[in-house]
């Protein structure tokens, strides 16, 4: 880099790669010497900038390789040794003192060490500022800053004071946003340079390696943009150029000098605002003519800047704590209401305001399995589902956020009024459990200092950027962007996700416990009915058995009345036995697992009818008609019971008819089939229709029609287990219709 061209076109990529910390040359307002300890302990000049010969009025070869003692005498030599050996752990660089060279130049010596070598920079001395004035300024500023709470006020004060100290024409304080763009927050201006307050600087104006450098060395001064760089010369060739990170005379990038020329500033100086280890912003000082200020003034400005940075950090932290506490309170409220609701998700869906407030969003959506609940201002459900699918399919992390959804998800371009910003959390990779928060577009006009995207594309396709020629304000409408997601909001969503995970896990455990308990009580119920079926049937069997024996073996001893009584005892015992069997069957329906298969209903109906008719017809005339019946899905044993009950009922209650009619038919009603059994029997009073399907409910006297009264209860239970309904319509002495429905099977054609 010794032959640095004065102008250069550098492309974006090599701009970021340019080793600006080791340019191999110094600016013209001073010279640099590197001292290395010789084996005998004396400090020898190891490297020197070429311009040392002019400043020292001494040829370069009588500088390089010479001892410190030869060049500067005892006193300074001892001081420089101290710098190297005593102050090794000192801050970046250190002001040693003023010196008058033999050549007559008045210089200030600034030193720092690089490895075991000492870098001594000799900077042209300016008129001295009285320490009293400096001290007064600093004390004033500190006193002021202590009372200031607003960042704006703070930056105004700091720019004003720095202008007072430096007398530069224009002082700008700008901060960087998350994208690296700078915004001018404050300006103090003599009026000789154009105002730049509120303008934005694109991130590319401060390349990455410059940002790193500004973190390490927080001050930088270029007294005259038109300086002639002076290259460094080494006594013996060196492997790597000198690391000039902490140098005050470090020559700057030619791009930067072009940039300054284009901006119309002859001199510049800057101070880094570092907040919590990050480059928060910069204070830039510009002057229309060449200008410099002594090291001590720059130090004072740096101190002021550091004080301001500390204040900004404190302000940020206070604001952040306040936000955190507010959002934590909302999270706590939400979790409490989740805990109170039986279905914990209701605790969220019933409090849409709080859900949205948690991340300060305008809309939110829950997507859990197949369900999608929207609240506030969101895109339509189809779009929300598509966004949620996109998050899952593209393997986005469990927490995702953007303030410009359309930049990663182009379909969101149409949704900017609801979904310019998106925050999403996902609780599970396996099951869908997503919460999405939406923010609308905030249209903003950004005043750029010049066109920010003034790039040219080279024929080979690489993008190149030239230092901008124009800093005339250029306004841009920022579209499809929401307000940025703040760290506290991102954290709130993350904390909420973790809390939800805990709740969901705990609920899952509770469900598992409940399932275990349910299984236990099912087991108990089974044991109970087992015991009933064994132990309750036996005594009825014995009563009936011995009564029969009495009747058959001892009948000659019994009066007719006695025989009748015994017959009644026997019948009652048998009926009781029948009831026990019916009850057992009834409870078994609830306990048996459904074995669902596709079933041809017509086949079942005809089979069952044939069975019943063989058993019960007794020479009656019965007309039976069965219309076309659909294929359904169900448990064949249970559905056979349904038909057996309905058809034998029809047969039973048509007994008084000379010609009994039983009709079976079915039709489709939306997603279900409706089956009907119609008879022309004795019917029933429709006022009692609702009682028909209860267990042991009968609408007829026992002696009229036999039965235990459990048949229709079984029908209802079986149909309900298949997801259908049952009802009946009766006309007293004029027949009855019994209906039940079954869902249309999903996979079968209608």
């Amino acid at each position: 880099m010794s032959a640095t061209p004065l102008t250069a076109s550098v492309n974006l990529t090599n701009c970021d790669r340019e080793p600006i910390h080791a340019p191999g040359s110094v600016q013209a307002h001073g010279f640099l010497l590197v001292f290395a300890p010789a084996p005998d302990g004396r400090l020898v000049v190891d490297e020197a900038s070429e311009n040392a010969q002019e400043w020292m009025q001494r040829p370069l070869d009588s500088i390089l390789g010479r001892t410190c003692m030869e060049l500067f005498g005892d006193t300074l030599c001892a001081e420089l040794r101290d710098e190297l050996y005593v102050r090794q752990m000192a801050p970046p660089n250190h002001f040693l003192r003023r010196i008058r060279l033999d050549s007559g130049h008045e210089m200030e010596i600034i030193t720092h060490s690089v490895g075991h070598r000492l870098v001594a920079e000799f900077e042209r001395a300016e008129e001295e500022l009285s320490p009293e004035r400096l001290n007064t300024t600093i004390v004033n500023v500190v006193a002021q800053l202590e009372t200031i709470r607003e960042i704006q006020e703070l930056s105004d004060a700091i720019t004003r004071e720095i202008r007072n100290l430096t007398r530069y024409d224009r002082i700008l304080l700008y901060s960087f946003n998350a994208d690296g763009h700078g915004t001018v927050l404050s300006e103090a201006n003599s009026g000789r340079l154009p105002a730049m307050l509120h303008l934005h600087f694109p991130a590319t104006d401060v390349p990455q390696q410059a940002r790193r450098l500004y973190l390490l060395n927080r001050t930088r001064m270029i007294p005259s943009v038109e300086y002639v760089p002076s290259p460094l010369r080494a006594r013996t060739p060196r492997e790597a150029p000198l690391d000039m990170t902490y140098c005050v005379l470090r020559s700057v990038s030619p791009i930067h000098r072009d940039y300054m020329r284009n901006m119309g500033t002859a001199a510049s100086m800057s101070f880094s605002i570092v907040v919590e280890g990050k480059l928060w912003g910069m204070i830039s000082c510009h002057h229309a003519e060449p200008r410099s200020v002594p090291y001590i003034v720059r130090s004072a400005c740096d101190v002021l800047t550091r004080i301001a940075a500390a204040q900004i950090a404190a302000n940020d932290r206070t604001a952040e704590y306040g936000d955190t506490i507010r959002l934590k309170a909302i999270e706590r409220d939400l979790l409490t209401s989740m805990a109170l609701e039986e279905k914990y998700l209701d605790g969220l869906t019933n409090h849409p305001d709080k859900v949205m407030a948690l991340t300060r969003s305008a809309g939110a959506a829950f997507l859990i399995d197949d369900a999608c609940v929207l609240m506030g201002e969101t895109p339509g459900e189809t779009h929300v589902r598509a966004i949620a699918d996109w998050l899952r399919e593209t393997g986005q992390p469990d927490q995702f956020w953007t303030d410009q959804l359309s930049s990663v998800y182009p379909a969101a371009k149409e949704l900017s009024n609801t979904a310019s910003g998106l925050m999403a959390i996902s609780l599970s990779q396996i099951h869908r459990f997503q919460i999405l928060w939406f923010r609308p577009e905030i249209l903003r006009t950004v005043q750029w200092a010049g066109e920010p995207l003034e790039k040219t594309q080279a024929p080979d396709g690489t993008l190149s950027i030239n230092p901008r020629l124009s800093f005339a304000s250029w306004s841009q409408l920022v579209e499809r962007r929401s307000g940025p997601w703040l760290a506290v909001e991102i954290e709130a969503a993350r904390d909420f996700r973790n809390a939800m995970l805990l709740i969901v896990l705990r609920r899952a455990e509770e469900m598992a416990d409940m399932a275990a308990e349910l299984e236990f009580s099912n087991k108990e119920l089974e044991a109970f009915s087992y015991s009933v079926s064994h132990d309750l049937r036996a005594p009825f069997r014995h009563i009936s058995g011995f009564a029969e024996l009495l009747l058959s073996e001892e009948s000659q001893q019994l009066s007719d009345k006695g025989k009748r009584y015994i017959a009644k005892i026997s019948q009652s015992a048998q009926f009781a036995g029948l009831l026990v069997d019916s009850l057992l069957n009834f409870s078994q329906i609830a306990r048996t697992r459904l074995d669902r298969r596709p079933l041809e209903m017509a086949t079942i109906v005809h089979d069952v009818w044939d069975e019943i008719v063989t058993d019960e017809l007794d020479g009656r005339t019965v007309e039976f008609d069965c219309g076309p019946l659909p294929t359904v899905e169900g448990d064949i044993h249970l559905l056979r019971q349904v038909w057996r009950n309905l058809l034998s009922n029809a047969l039973k209650y048509t007994k008084p008819r000379a010609v009994a009619r039983v009709d079976v038919s079915a039709h489709r009603d939306n997603e279900q089939y409706v089956f009907r059994v119609r008879d022309n029997g004795v019917g029933f009073d429709n006022r009692y229709a609702h009682k028909l399907f209860g267990a042991f409910q009968r609408l007829h006297r026992a002696e009229e029609f036999e039965g235990t009264g459990i048949g229709l209860a079984n029908v209802r239970r079986i149909v309900a287990r298949h997801g259908g309904q049952t009802w009946a319509e009766g006309r007293l002495d004029d027949g009855a219709d019994f209906f039940f429905t079954l869902p249309v099977p999903e996979n079968l054609p209608s």
Partner: protein, 148 residues
């Protein structure tokens, strides 16, 4: 000589009714009564008071499921393990309509499963049919020789 019917029944009422039913069926087979699972095993395995009974299996075992000490299903499992008793006709005779019992019974190798009907005429009929089928109609499997 006709081989006996082994009736395993603990309930005195059921015992009496079953015996009545069997006597009404006109079967000439002797009926050996065991009042619990242990007694049934004693008989079948020549133990206890049956230690010195003449060698030979019954024509059929009418075996109640719910029995004191060793229940009917356990008895069934034990005798099916014995080479000599593997093919002995066993009819499970029970109050229970529980599917579980029926399944277990068949799995363990019962030859029939009869739920005692509450109505006595049905009961008599069931017992008679069983007795006749297993004691008379059904040719019992040949007796394997006892391994010495």
């Amino acid at each position: 000589m006709l081989r006996p019917i082994l009736l395993v029944e603990d309930n005195p009422n059921d015992l009496e009714l079953s015996l009545t039913a069997l006597s009404k069926s006109g079967l000439a087979n002797e009926v050996v009564i065991a009042r619990d699972g242990e007694e049934a095993c004693d008989y079948l395995f020549y133990r206890g008071r049956y230690a010195s009974r003449p060698h030979g299996n019954p024509a059929v075992v009418l075996l109640d499921i719910k029995l004191p000490k060793i229940d009917g299903l356990e008895v069934l499992a034990m005798l099916r393990k014995e080479e000599e008793l593997r093919h002995l006709p066993v009819v499970l005779l029970t109050s229970s309509r529980e599917e579980q019992d029926v399944l277990t019974g068949y799995k363990l190798g019962s030859n029939a499963y009869v739920v005692k009907p509450v109505a006595f005429p049905d009961f008599i009929k069931a017992i008679q049919d069983l007795g006749v089928f297993w004691a008379v109609v059904n040719e019992p499997p040949p007796m394997p020789r006892r391994a010495q």
